[in-house]
């Protein structure tokens, strides 16, 4: 069998064996409803509370401040809509950035239709927001700042602590979508003045369909999902016990060996970036070179289109992703790549390879080797490359 190299860890990660093992008893053995008072129910309750503590510990929060959700998108929706609706009488202005995940962007667009004003901050060519722009955007109507911790496509890490300071000084709630950052970056919600933080289990070797929202104690926001009294009455629905247990274990594992893992990942990432830049001409690294997620490699390969790159990589057993229009079904390439100032034709040729715990140097070599051939083959077929060579 041809080997399969998975380099799309920003899309999702496999569930680690240790995580799965923790989860398994909560399907058919300890299946009790955490809200039930008999011992079978209590077992589930205890498991959920243990996970809550694991999450809280990982981000420097109190366990009372952690609320489980069905994932990152729900957490983002809840944080933004919840604060917006609750604080309508104080103001109707929200500040976010142009490169947020669609769970944030589309939620903000929805709120605009409900009468809220939203400022979408520009980013520079590396994908960083400008703190002065942020300060200038604040008005006496501003109730919320929502800026992602690290970008899912280009990996750029925002100055979260500085944003937290500004938000605190101006008495505005600060939410961060930390879905990509969690498990890769040391986070302390208290030190960094973060009021709300979204996270998602499957990005750090936990299961899919489970996430959490950290809500600073005392912060009031409207409920998104009404029903029973689960999650301290703030998020209804019988707890997804097994997945919550998995999320707890996964986050614990991620922070147990954070520095060691990151050191290895950054080394791999920088080797891959260096090798691609050395071996393939006319490429552009997308995202900040240093303020960057440990596993993120994102390049534009000029004169070729991203989907054909992905298909070719798949043929040699490599999984990656692209921000080209052809992979999204829309006409435009990724909003993130356009926001960092790339022209459409260059943005179409993007490739993201996101490394994870299971990748190694040999795999990086294999992928780069194949990439050299694939890019060469596709460029030889490209009329854009011809035109470029003629002009040259």
């Amino acid at each position: 069998m041809q080997k399969y190299i998975y380099m799309d860890n920003a899309a999702t990660t496999p569930v680690k064996k240790e995580v799965l093992e923790e989860m398994l008893p909560y399907f058919s053995e300890n299946y009790g409803n955490p809200s039930s008072i008999y011992s079978l129910g209590s077992k589930s309750k205890v498991a959920v509370e243990k996970a809550r503590e694991q999450v809280a510990k990982a981000i420097g929060a109190d366990k009372k401040e952690i609320f489980f959700t069905a994932g990152g998108s729900e957490s983002d929706n809840w944080a933004i809509k919840g604060v917006a609706y609750k604080n309508k009488s104080k103001g109707n202005h929200i500040i976010t950035s142009k490169i947020e995940h669609h769970a944030v962007l589309h939620t903000c667009e929805y709120l605009e239709k409900q009468g809220f004003d939203v400022t979408y901050l520009d980013v520079d060519e590396d994908g960083l927001i400008n703190l002065e722009d942020l300060e200038k955007a604040i008005t006496d109507k501003t109730i919320l700042i929502s800026i992602m911790y690290a970008n899912n496509e280009i990996g750029t890490i925002q100055p979260i602590s500085e944003i937290g300071k500004i938000a605190k000084k101006r008495n505005i709630y600060f939410h961060t979508d930390a879905v990509q950052a969690l498990g890769s970056i040391k986070i302390d919600v208290k030190d960094q003045n973060i009021d709300m933080l979204s996270l998602s289990g499957h990005k750090f070797y936990g299961p899919k369909g489970v996430g959490a929202l950290y809500i600073r104690q005392g912060l009031k926001l409207d409920t998104l999902i009404s029903g029973g009294g689960q999650e301290r009455g703030k998020r209804a629905g019988t707890e997804n016990v097994a997945s919550i247990v998995g999320l707890g274990k996964a986050i614990e594992l991620a922070y147990e060996n954070l520095e060691e893992n990151n050191e290895k990942l950054i080394k791999l990432r920088d080797k891959m970036i260096k090798d691609i830049e050395e071996k393939i001409p006319y490429v552009r690294l997308n995202g900040h070179r240093n303020k960057r997620l440990p596993g993120n490699v994102n390049f534009c390969f000029r004169f070729i289109e991203g989907e054909s790159l992905l298909l070719s990589l798949d043929m040699v057993g490599v999984a990656g992703s692209s921000g080209s229009a052809c992979t999204s079904g829309s006409l435009d390439p990724s909003h993130v790549l356009l926001s960092i100032g790339l022209p459409h034709e260059i943005a179409h040729g993007s490739l993201r390879l996101s490394l994870g715990s299971f990748n190694n140097e040999e795999e990086v070599d294999y992928v780069v080797e194949n990439l050299v051939e694939i890019v060469d083959r596709l460029r030889k077929m490209s009329p854009l490359y011809d035109k470029f060579l003629e002009v040259k």
């Binding site: 054909s308 070719s312 390439p333 854009l384």
Partner: protein, 145 residues
């Protein structure tokens, strides 16, 4: 997502390249949309003796170009003019709906090359009179389907 035929034509595209001193060259699409096709024709009498292409685009754009060249090679101009985008897509065992515009581009690339031939050689080709290869035409065409 793609048929085996599409993958076959993507990985082993037929007739890639250029023709020196071609009798007709056509280019359609634009880089902004992420696909450009260029077709080269060698025509003897009214027969397409040779055809080559270069394409910037996704897998189905490359496969559509390749299939289109196969379908018109050795055919008469009249037969090439009759080639529709649907025929290209069918020959590939179908394309996903969002990719149908790639087959439209392939049809347009051939017609654009024939138009170039007709102008250079003062030949009238029925059906080319009111062709319009507007930049985003191929996309609009699909959305209105």
């Amino acid at each position: 997502m793609y048929s085996e035929k599409v993958m076959d034509h993507f990985t082993h595209p037929r007739n890639v390249g250029e023709i020196e001193n071609p009798d007709g060259v056509g280019e359609v699409g634009n880089a902004k949309c992420g696909d450009i096709m260029r077709m080269y024709l060698k025509i003897e009498g009214d027969v397409i003796e040779d055809v080559k292409f270069k394409t910037f685009g996704c897998g189905s754009a490359i496969a559509s170009s390749s299939m289109a060249t196969e379908l018109i090679k050795g055919k008469t101009i009249e037969e090439a003019m009759a080639l529709t985008n649907k025929a290209v897509a069918e020959a590939l065992d179908g394309l996903p709906p969002v990719k149908m515009h790639c087959s439209v581009l392939a049809e347009q690339a051939i017609k654009s090359a024939l138009l170039d031939y007709s102008k250079k050689h003062n030949v009238v080709i029925p059906g080319l009179e009111d062709l319009n290869f507007d930049d985003e035409d191929h996309h609009d065409l699909i959305e209105n389907d």
